[in-house]
Symmetry: C2
Subunit: 522 residues, 2 copies
């Protein structure tokens, strides 16, 4: 270890004492006073190494204005951590100290990671099933509306929110934001070498607000809805890279942060594919905790097989339009697929923004049984001109209640995730072979459903006499009706097992029905 | 240039004089007598460098039995070529000579390459639109049946054939082949260090037979339909690699060869993903002409973004089952997608082998308007037990005639290829914006179709007054009916242009209709 304790002076915190205990997956922060002359954002290098046993992690620090430098750390292991600072400024260099990472509190499960190839789990291995929504610019609307959005989110089913770091200048969102990310003057006079700490402090409060609500902050780092209005979409490569490193140094220690390099990256005409590749590598390499990282497309899919991409964040207007389609990109990428944009519930005269609630809920279910995840958006016109999709505010649609129902179903589903069961033949089956099934009947309106299960893939066994219970789920009216019978398997064909007595399940002849089937194991 | 002419002796050809003129994209072959002691396959290194101006290409030679060594070369440029051999055997070393590559003959358009990202063209830039079929083991059936297959192919619409180098041991194909690829004794006593030249000479005759019919030879290098019967599916890594290099040295100079590393690669339980990656790199690096190269899957897609893969050869049982689905993998891979297996026309009791002819033709059309390509297979049971899909013979199905019709439509379509026009909204439109459209109505049976065209993407213009002619294509009955009217565009909505007078096209209320629309340019 290159770290020599004897050379280090004790770190002198800015104001109050440094916390000597934080939760595992909580945030340790060290604040130090340092140089204010010149340009601290450019002139001062400051980072800190954190040590525990064989683990050594370097976290970049950042200048937070008013002579204060901070470095943040997200301890992924419990126990005693020591640290030592490094800087080209004497006041920030060779400060050392230690703290303890203690048991996390009840709702702190750590950052979300990829699990079982196609799914997600918190660091403590609790499955995480995303039911996300989008309010691109909610954080640029001022205190009152932002508090209203938080209140709405608190009562909603959503556990992930997509939003942009940079403000948005687009239809239904042309108001100037209260704060800007750089020093300077709106609309276009910016000193890209000087960040505005207040802007980022505000955003951090919002990330923490979401964290307290159990909502993952799917943070969009670039977007095209600027179109040169402020020019944050057309900074130089040097300014882009510096911005990314600054954001990562500030946000990476928040456990609920996900990185979305862009929304509709391909609509940013000033950037090339090589830029996105470089951005991905910068974020991946500078984030010590490797938060989830993806890149959302307009029309042109990015190559989601790139190793720095953890999951495919996809916009596609038709991939969850019927059964059997959503799996194709899952098969191609072998990573979790989140269809973050599948058109919105709403009534605007844009064809991407006037789905019925029924259609959006239907699309969530189609994505679900295909072993993928789907995102919500809402674009109802209203006298207030506050559209949820852009500004937040209140939800006016009928889908969130049904997505709450879906989320309950997901929470009750196998930890290993819902997998497509018989891709090319019977895409209506999702689940885990021989254990659990969701059969989603979509827009069909049958009055009965023959109990039968596809032959499991190699390595999974199904046997005569296996028993299953079933429930009928009305996914629109949110009613779960248990089926009285216990179904007992008998081999039927090369491809199917069925109830040995040939029994069926009665259905009400309505659309949006699903059947939930669970193995009887006692 | 390291080549010093003075040191070289004249190459002494085996029998007759070396040809001193071959066609461009024809095959130059040099045959020399060399060592017969020891194991010539293992002991002798032999290659030749071919020179023209700044171009220098090394082609590996191979031992062809009976003391004869050959090296083959596919001249991609016309004019004078010189060559010089290199070997560790004196008789094969430092032989030099020259020949001329002359104008190609009428039907010789060179190897097929990727064109316009998603499509194909011959080296002379003539578009190549694959309409392929599959006879996995036709080349292992003996002279009589093989000649019958060639005769059938000659009268068929197919311009690509998938078949296996190794013999096949599988349902409906358990006969032993006339020849084996290695010296030894069937079923499992092989000297993997000694190839059987007669086996490969036979295969080369078949590749040439196909070439003369204008059929690309989509040559499958490994497959799982051995299951240890002969053990060609479970050779050592050293034997696998040697086999690949031998095949490439023999076949690469045939202009109509495509490399398919495997059929259903993921069903070959003895091979890992790393093996396939290595195989791909070996074939790509050892083929001086970079023939088309892909890897066909069973259930698990390979990562077709890998740089050595030229196009995605896909098996998928449902990707062309409706409109709007096939594009997803095209979007993911940004390469030509050939759905080489989409289930077969036939009547076997396997669910992958009993499509109706109507359904298979429908799938071809769905693939076509999505800007992808589809492959044919036929599995009709018959007293002879000769199924086309495996052994060749005669075609019994109703789809080939309709695929001939489709191929005519393709030959008449824009050189740039058919592209999806409005992916998420109107997947029934394929073509080139503002120039050419195929609107495929599939299983719908409308009696009229309103003339309207989606707004073209950025960079393409559509204007008031643009004129189009239309034809109604009955894709099943193969009837083309011109529509008398000329349609004149007027802007209709944000998303569509339509005929300014609101005219429609009358349709017969039958399924499988398409509308072909061409810009009037005079």
């Amino acid at each position: 270890m290159a770290w020599v304790a004897l050379l280090l002076t004790l770190a002198a915190p800015v104001a109050r004492g440094v916390e000597n205990s934080v939760e595992q997956w909580g945030m340790f922060e060290l604040a130090l006073r340092g140089p204010t002359n010149g340009n601290p954002f450019m002139d001062v290098r400051f980072s800190t190494r954190f040590f525990q046993d064989d683990t050594s992690i370097e976290a970049a620090g950042f200048y937070d204005g008013d002579g204060v430098y901070r470095v943040r750390f997200l301890p992924e292991k419990q126990g005693r951590w020591r640290y030592a600072t490094m800087s080209n400024a004497a006041e920030l260099d060779a400060k050392s100290g230690e703290f303890t990472a203690r048991n996390p509190s009840a709702k702190n499960r750590g950052p979300v990671r990829v699990a079982n190839t196609f799914h997600f789990a918190y660091a403590d291995r609790t499955p995480y099933k995303p039911v996300g929504t989008t309010c691109y610019a909610w954080n640029h609307q001022g205190e009152e509306l932002e508090q209203q959005t938080l209140k709405t989110l608190a009562a909603s089913p959503f556990n992930k929110l997509r939003f942009c770091v940079f403000p948005k200048h687009y239809d239904w969102n042309t108001n100037e934001p209260p704060l800007y990310p750089f020093e300077g003057r709106a609309p276009r006079t910016w000193d890209f070498e000087r960040f505005n700490p207040k802007f980022f402090q505000h955003l951090e409060r919002r990330i923490l607000n979401l964290q307290k609500l159990g909502i993952e902050a799917d943070t969009i780092l670039f977007h095209p809805y600027d179109q040169g209005h402020w020019g944050f979409d057309r900074m130089t490569a040097v300014a882009d890279d510096r911005y990314l490193r600054y954001v990562v140094s500030r946000f990476a220690a928040f456990r609920n942060v996900w990185w979305s390099l862009a929304n509709e990256y391909d609509f940013m005409t000033e950037k090339s594919e090589q830029d996105w590749e470089r951005f991905g590598q910068i974020v991946s390499a500078s984030d010590p905790y490797h938060h989830l990282l993806s890149l959302h497309n307009g029309k042109r899919l990015f190559n989601h097989t790139r190793p720095w991409i953890t999951h495919a964040s996809i916009q596609n207007g038709s991939a969850v339009e019927d059964a059997g389609r959503a799996v194709l990109l899952r098969d191609a990428y072998r990573k979790p697929v989140v269809y973050d944009e599948v058109k919105c519930e709403g009534d605007i005269p844009k064809r991407w923004g006037n789905l019925s609630a029924e259609e959006l809920v239907y699309r969530f279910w189609q994505g679900t049984i295909a072993g993928t995840y789907v995102g919500h958006g809402e674009t109802y016109l209203h006298a207030s001109a506050v559209l949820w999709w852009s500004k937040g505010g209140v939800l006016r649609g009928q889908s969130p209640l049904r997505l709450a129902f879906l989320r309950q179903v997901l929470e009750d589903s196998p930890a290993a995730g819902i997998e497509p069961i018989d891709e090319w033949q019977n895409p209506e089956y999702g689940g885990q072979p021989a254990e659990y099934y969701l059969v989603y009947l979509g827009k069909q309106t049958p009055t009965s459903w023959e109990f039968k299960l596809p032959n499991p893939p190699q390595g999974k066994s199904m046997t005569d006499g296996m028993q299953f219970k079933a429930e009928v789920l009305d996914t629109w009216n949110m009613i779960i009706t248990p089926v009285e019978s216990v179904f007992t398997l008998g081999k039927k064909t090369e491809y199917f097992w069925a109830d040995k007595d040939g029994r069926s399940i009665a259905l009400p002849g309505k659309p949006y029905m699903a059947i939930r089937i669970k193995r009887v194991t006692e």
